[in-house]
Each structure stands twice: as structure tokens, then as C-alpha cells.
Symmetry: C2
Amino acid sequence: MRPVFYVSDGTGITTETIGHTVLAQFEGIEYHAKRFPFVDTPEKAARTAALIDNAQKQAGKKAVVFTSLVDPEADTVIRDTGALVLDVLKPFTRPLESELGAQRSLTIGKAHALVDYKAYEERINATNFALTHDDGMNYNYGNADLILVGVSRSGKTPTCLYMALHYGVKAANYPLTDEDLEGEGLPKRLQPFRQKLFGLTIDPIRLQQIRQERKPNSRYATLEQCRKEVSRAEAMFQSIRLPHLSTTNTSIEEISSKIISQLDISTHHY
Amino acid sequence: MRPVFYVSDGTGITTETIGHTVLAQFEGIEYHAKRFPFVDTPEKAARTAALIDNAQKQAGKKAVVFTSLVDPEADTVIRDTGALVLDVLKPFTRPLESELGAQRSLTIGKAHALVDYKAYEERINATNFALTHDDGMNYNYGNADLILVGVSRSGKTPTCLYMALHYGVKAANYPLTDEDLEGEGLPKRLQPFRQKLFGLTIDPIRLQQIRQERKPNSRYATLEQCRKEVSRAEAMFQSIRLPHLSTTNTSIEEISSKIISQLDISTHHY
């Protein structure tokens, strides 16, 4: 088991994201990773270095340490462990400095520090919007940036919340009821908002598992019911040419990103 | 205005995160950035390259392009634009290959592709937990990993949702009522869960702004009321030595990361 450390003077989230992505390229490598955020003094670096030392002795091999420490003294303390230390920002700094004709400024914990209230408020307001427009609670869709449509438990709620928290997108969701699925075309309530709609679907077997966990042995959780709802929902999406995606093998991040690029919603990822 | 592109064969989220963090180190540089996800064929790369070309002509300077394209042909198409192309993963691949004694495998769109149902379910279940244990809706805290405590609009809900979606942490939240704030010590309902509690506080002036937007000109939104609630909440946190943080100048990411490291909740950041 290879010991892996993410060491940062901020939250360490960016450092972990990069490290995790880099390591995901190496199949079959077993590793145990831990994140050390807010390592912003040489003293804290020394404590982290002691843990790295220890992990290396126990594993009998070098640790892999992803860092983004701005303080050179703290950085040296970590490097003195003899671990493979990879600074996640430095490789890009030099070429950018020469292209931009500017020096990077060394400020600690920058990536996820709160910069402006406006962006923050956008995310919070979008999250409140998602919460108050979840699951057909509120059909006042005039302010929505988009409306996710799908059967119960197809993944609408977490997708809406993710898009709100990360993109500041006001995402509502509408659960397709039996009545909707027996009717023709788009439910009436959604008709004025055709351009904002996006369909979610899911494999009926997977849906059955999810519903079974939620309401064991209900009619709602039978495979027959799941099959019927999914096939009708998909037929509706196709008949009105609604863009749609299956959540079965797709992460929340991927779904959100695809929806935003398909509907061409202009936004920034926080 | 410097044109910046994030070009990826996956969601591009990791690429954007790295690029954004790297650029944040350069103060005073004005840039306009756009993310191009799912560029997974040379044809799509050619379309993106045309946009890069165009942006360079309009701006009269080189674009900065952060990429993570696995396909070498697509990568070449992008590099042929003459932009400053920075591959966000490559700098770490070579040293890791030699330390791990393994070659990286070239799979497209790996970072945020859904890998295992178990981790996915953990996030979804935690999100459902946060939704059903929001704002004192449900006091069944036995299964909670943590309970955030604070006055109304101090940032509890978005923090809980973020922790659920990103760490799979089951986070409940408890709003401090007038009654709680007039009493002594911890509200009764929270007493059995002392080890799981974390306090959130906020600057009263900021709180007043947030409440004013939500319920304009209510007693709830007066500065006097906000001051009183916050000072009592902070006094309570101090009297029982509850770890707590102010959300005033702190991003959701930072708050979540600090809470998790202070309560020593073992988790992984998705």
C-alpha cells in the first residue's frame, strides 16, 4: 500500500483533486491517501512531515506527496522527508509568468478562499432556489435557469443541488407522475418552459434497487412499475425531442457538466 | 483581455479547477475563460481549435489553454493553434511512472466518470439525509455524522449539502431559536450528541443583509435582532467550548474542509 499525502496551506481540495486525478491514471496501484489542509506554518509542516516519515517507515517505500505550499520554509520541511513531492501548481507558473509578463503573487490558501460576495450569493440563492423548487413543490418556474424532468428517484435532486452549489444555476425539478406518464406529450405545467427542460432517465433495474432501499416492498419499488415508468418517460422524451441523459453510469459531475453545455447555460464552475 | 480555454475529454471540471487556481496567483491579469468539455475526437478538437484561433485574433495575443486530452491527435490539433498549451496532468506523470514502476493508462474522461456505485450511493444517501434533517425538520440525529448549529441564515444548509455531495458526510443542522438562545447552555435536544456538534456564526451586519433580502423589513431582519441572536449564540458556543467558525469571509469549501478536519471525520473528497 503506497502512502499518499495531499498537503496544502488552504483547504487542500484542489491539491487532492489534482492528485486523485493523476493517480487515477495508474491502474492497479493500491494507495492510502490522506489530506492535510491548512498547513500554513513551518511548525504544522514539521508535524505533517513526521507523519510522512512514519508512513514511509511502515510501508517500506517512499510516500507520494502532492503539495501547494506557498511558504518556502514549510515546503523544504516536507521535501526533507525524501518523499516524492509533486507541487501541483509550480509546473505551470514559469511558462505563465513568461507569457503574461507578470510574477505570481504568493498568497496562502487562495483557491477556495472567499473572494466576492456576489458569486457567493449567487450560489446560495441558487441552492435556496433548488430547495424550494424540488420535486414539484413549486411550479413557479419563471426564474428557473433549467428544469429537470424525470421519474421519481432518477437523480434529479442531487443534480439540481450540485448545479446550484457549483455553477450558481437555478435548477428546478419536476417529477413525472403516473398521470403525466399516461397522458400525451409534455405535462401542461411544463409547456411554457420548453426551452429550459432537460430529461433524466435511468436503467429500470437500477431504479428498482434505489426505490427498494427507500420504500421496501412497495408497488413503487417493483421492477414492473419501474419498467413501465421509465419506458413511458423515455417515449415522451423522444416524441417531443427533449434532450435527455441516463444517470445509470454517470456521475453527478458529468451529468451537470453535460446539461450545462447542451443547454448552453453560461456559467463558471466554483 | 486574455482568452483562456479549459479543454478536456471529460467534464473539464478538474482542468478548470487547476487552471483557475493557477491563474488566481496572477493578480491584476484580466482574462475571459470558457470550458470545453467532452472534446474526445480530433473533429471536436478542430472545432475548439477554430474558436481558439478566432479568440487569439480578436484579442491580438496568445490564448492560454489548459488541457487534459488523452488522444494525441486531438492534442496536436489544439497545440497547432500556437496558444500557450498547458497539460494539467503530464508534469506529474513522468516522475510517478518512475516511482511507481508503472505506466499510466490512457483512458478518456476518467476523473469524474462514475466508478463505483457504493461511493455514489454514499453521496446520494448523505444528500437525502441532509435534505430530511435540514433546519430542525427531524431530530432523529442518531445516524448523523455531524450536526451544524447556528442562528437562521448563518450558512448551515449550503454547508450541509456541500458536505453531503462532496464527502458523503451525513450532516444535519439545527437552527437556534429564540427560546434556545434565552436558555442556559445547550438546547436539550442536542445534549446527547455533544461530540457531533459544530457551531456556525456570522457577522451581524452581513446576517442582516441576508435576512433583509429574504424577509424584507421584518423584525427578523433588523440589525438589532441579528446582533442579539449572534451574540447569544457565540456566548453559548464559548460557554460550552463548542468548536465554531464564522461564515462571513469563508467559502463553503473552506468551512466544510475545516469542520471535517476539526471533527476528524474520515472521508474522501469526491
